[in-house]
């Protein structure tokens, strides 16, 4: 039987006295593109951070490919939100990507030539080879996002956790990122991404997790991503969107 990429049980995360995630149970399959959607404040980013052990949990546990996260760290790559970082930091794109290798380089050692080459290759995969030595403040939003992706690629992980990878990027970059994610999936890796744009969920992803502090639904797009589930996730404030989504789903099935 296939070990799920991520298994979450009874996960509850509270911030001060407010629950942010409440009793979440999830099993996410390997080798798929999985979207996490939900309204603002639904705990989507928190779910990612809880899986990575970046926030304390009240209860519950997480397993990555059947083992606790600490033992599977090298199998997981993380792409945080772009806003989480000060882009005026004096460093180049190549340098940022090399940071993804720090876990591998280890304490007290300098990045070696082959590390730099790996980083460069990752930049090439996201189409940023020419801008490798550019100071990151001089990059556009889309380019910065690509640098973050390249950094994750450098980790050569089996499972990628991404927080809003498509947020605030131009159309060309969006297409490039999607192509990259599909390549990752086709090579057997798993990608879990917090996604903000309901219009494109069905088109981009295979699986979806609908979250609003509690788990509303999770499963393949075809069976899970429907008007009823969206209604329950967004609480009925969605009439325009549900119609659009219905239309989208119609189109998809017609294809």
């Amino acid at each position: 039987m296939n070990v799920p990429a991520i298994e979450v049980h009874d996960l509850t995360v509270a911030y001060r006295t407010q629950p942010v995630l409440w009793d979440v149970d999830l099993a996410l399959p390997e080798g798929k593109l999985i979207a996490i959607v939900g309204p603002n404040g639904a705990g989507k980013s928190t779910l990612l951070k809880a899986i990575l052990g970046l926030v304390p949990t009240v209860t519950g546990w997480v397993q990555i490919f059947g083992e606790p996260y600490e033992r599977r760290r090298s199998w997981v790559g993380y792409v945080p939100q772009r806003e989480s970082v000060d882009w005026d930091f004096p460093t180049s794109a190549l340098d940022v990507v090399t940071m993804g290798l720090y876990g591998r380089i280890g304490w007290l050692r300098r990045p070696a030539k082959h590390h730099r080459e790996t980083a460069l290759a990752c930049l090439e995969k996201v189409g940023m080879h020419d801008l490798a030595h550019r100071q990151i403040s001089q990059l556009s939003g889309g380019q910065q996002q690509r640098v973050f992706l390249a950094r994750a690629l450098a980790q050569d992980a089996r499972l990628y956790l991404m927080d809003e990878p498509f947020a605030g990027v131009d159309a060309t970059t969006e297409r490039a990122i999607l192509t990259l994610l599909k390549e990752l999936r086709d090579s057997g890796r798993t990608v879990v991404a917090v996604h903000h744009d309901l219009q494109t969920v069905a088109e981009y992803f295979d699986h979806v997790v609908l979250l609003n502090m509690r788990l509303v639904a999770a499963g393949p797009i075809a069976t899970t991503f429907n008007a009823d589930a969206l209604q329950r996730t967004y609480g009925g404030k969605l009439t325009v969107l549900t119609q659009a989504t219905e239309a989208l789903l119609q189109n998809r099935s017609v294809e």
Partner: protein, 368 residues
């Protein structure tokens, strides 16, 4: 007037005026700008002294006021160039200005009583004897006049501009849209800071002015959520720090200003720990209560998921709780009839199931 009374009055005036102005600094996250101004005014004071040849109050206040505004302008200049962040701008501007002041003192005013130690930590004990002489008439201690005037000024400022200050502090955008230029208010406030600071200089010195500007308002911030009350509590705390500090200083025969700051710190610590609304103790208790409630809900959820009777031992293992912890959580649930014992295990009651339903919906509704 007895010397003690004079000192207490002066100290109270200083504390009160600093508390009034400092409240807005704390709320605007500009505490360190206050720190910067209190150091940067030094060259202004020195220049005023060198130009007028006397240590009279008015030129010094003007000099300090000018430097205060200059400091803010410079910090803004650096920040707006976008090559420096705000905290860095503050960190480069005030030491440079302070250095200028120190060098001016060393070279041109070394023989005068404008010495550095006094500037840094003041000497309020001399206040009763430093009297104001106008036309040969003894009008009383100068410090009292100066700090009393400053207090009056600050009080008027806060009263007159109360709503503008409140609005621009919480929503600068709205303030601008309504015609109350946040920039003007900002510079007015900074001028008030400069004037207040120089008034307090002679009594408590530069660094302890910061204590009076920041600590009582921060204490008040932990005790109330309303601006008017916060101002009142800040003033009260400041005066208490001043009076108790004086008492402590006399008892232990140590620096009065230092004692005032120490007492202010102790009051802050007390509020930090014990404030019923925002203190650590209150939070801990709240968290524990919340934790217990959350644990209870999780237990109910789990019971519902399993569907039947669940052995107690399994529950302990599931949640990783000690037997004692489980007991605590259970006692509440058993008492309110949400859970019942059955043959060595536990089961959800219909009432418990119902509560779960409503809680779930309520929590979801709360989120939306």
């Amino acid at each position: 007037m007895s010397p003690t009374l004079v000192i207490l009055l002066v100290a109270s005036c200083v504390a009160a005026s600093c508390a009034l102005i400092g409240t807005f600094l704390v709320l605007r996250k500009m505490a360190l700008l206050g720190d910067a101004i209190s150091h940067a005014v030094l060259p202004g004071i020195v220049i005023a002294f060198l130009v007028t040849g006397s240590r009279s109050a008015l030129p010094m206040v003007l000099g300090a006021g000018a430097l205060g505004v200059l400091t803010v302008l410079l910090v803004e200049l650096f920040t707006r160039s976008r090559r420096l962040r705000e905290d860095a701008s503050i960190g480069v501007v005030f030491p440079a200005l302070f250095s200028l002041g120190v060098i001016l003192i060393s070279r041109y005013a070394a023989q005068v009583d404008l010495d550095l130690d006094c500037v840094l930590y003041g000497e309020i004990a001399y206040a009763p004897w430093d009297v104001l002489l106008i036309g040969g008439a003894d009008l009383g201690p100068k410090a009292l006049w100066v700090n009393g005037a400053v207090l009056l000024l600050d009080l008027l400022f806060v009263l007159i501009f109360f709503k503008e200050l409140k609005l621009s502090t919480f929503d600068a955008g709205l303030s601008a849209a309504l015609g109350f230029s946040p920039v003007v208010i900002h510079y007015l406030l900074m001028s008030a800071v400069s004037v207040t600071v120089v008034g307090a200089f002679e009594s408590v010195g530069a660094i302890l002015v910061v204590a009076m500007l920041v600590v009582p308002p921060a204490t008040a911030y932990l005790l109330t959520d309303r601006l008017g009350v916060m101002l009142g509590v800040a003033v009260g705390t400041g005066i208490a720090s001043a009076l108790l500090g004086y008492g402590m200083a006399r008892a232990l025969d140590v620096s009065i200003a230092g004692a005032m700051a120490t007492v202010a710190g102790l009051l802050f610590l007390a509020a930090l720990l014990l404030s019923p609304s925002h203190g650590l103790l209150a939070r801990l208790l709240q968290l524990r209560k919340m934790g217990r409630r959350l644990s209870g809900q999780l237990l109910l959820l789990h019971l519902r998921k399993e569907g039947e009777v669940v052995p107690t031992a399994m529950l302990e293992r599931r949640f990783g709780w000690s037997a004692r912890r489980l007991q605590t959580v259970l006692s509440g649930l058993l008492r309110t009839g949400l859970v019942e014992r059955e043959g060595g295990g536990l089961r959800l009651t219909p009432k418990g199931s119902e509560v779960l339903e409503t809680t779930g919906r309520a929590q979801l509704a709360h989120k939306l």
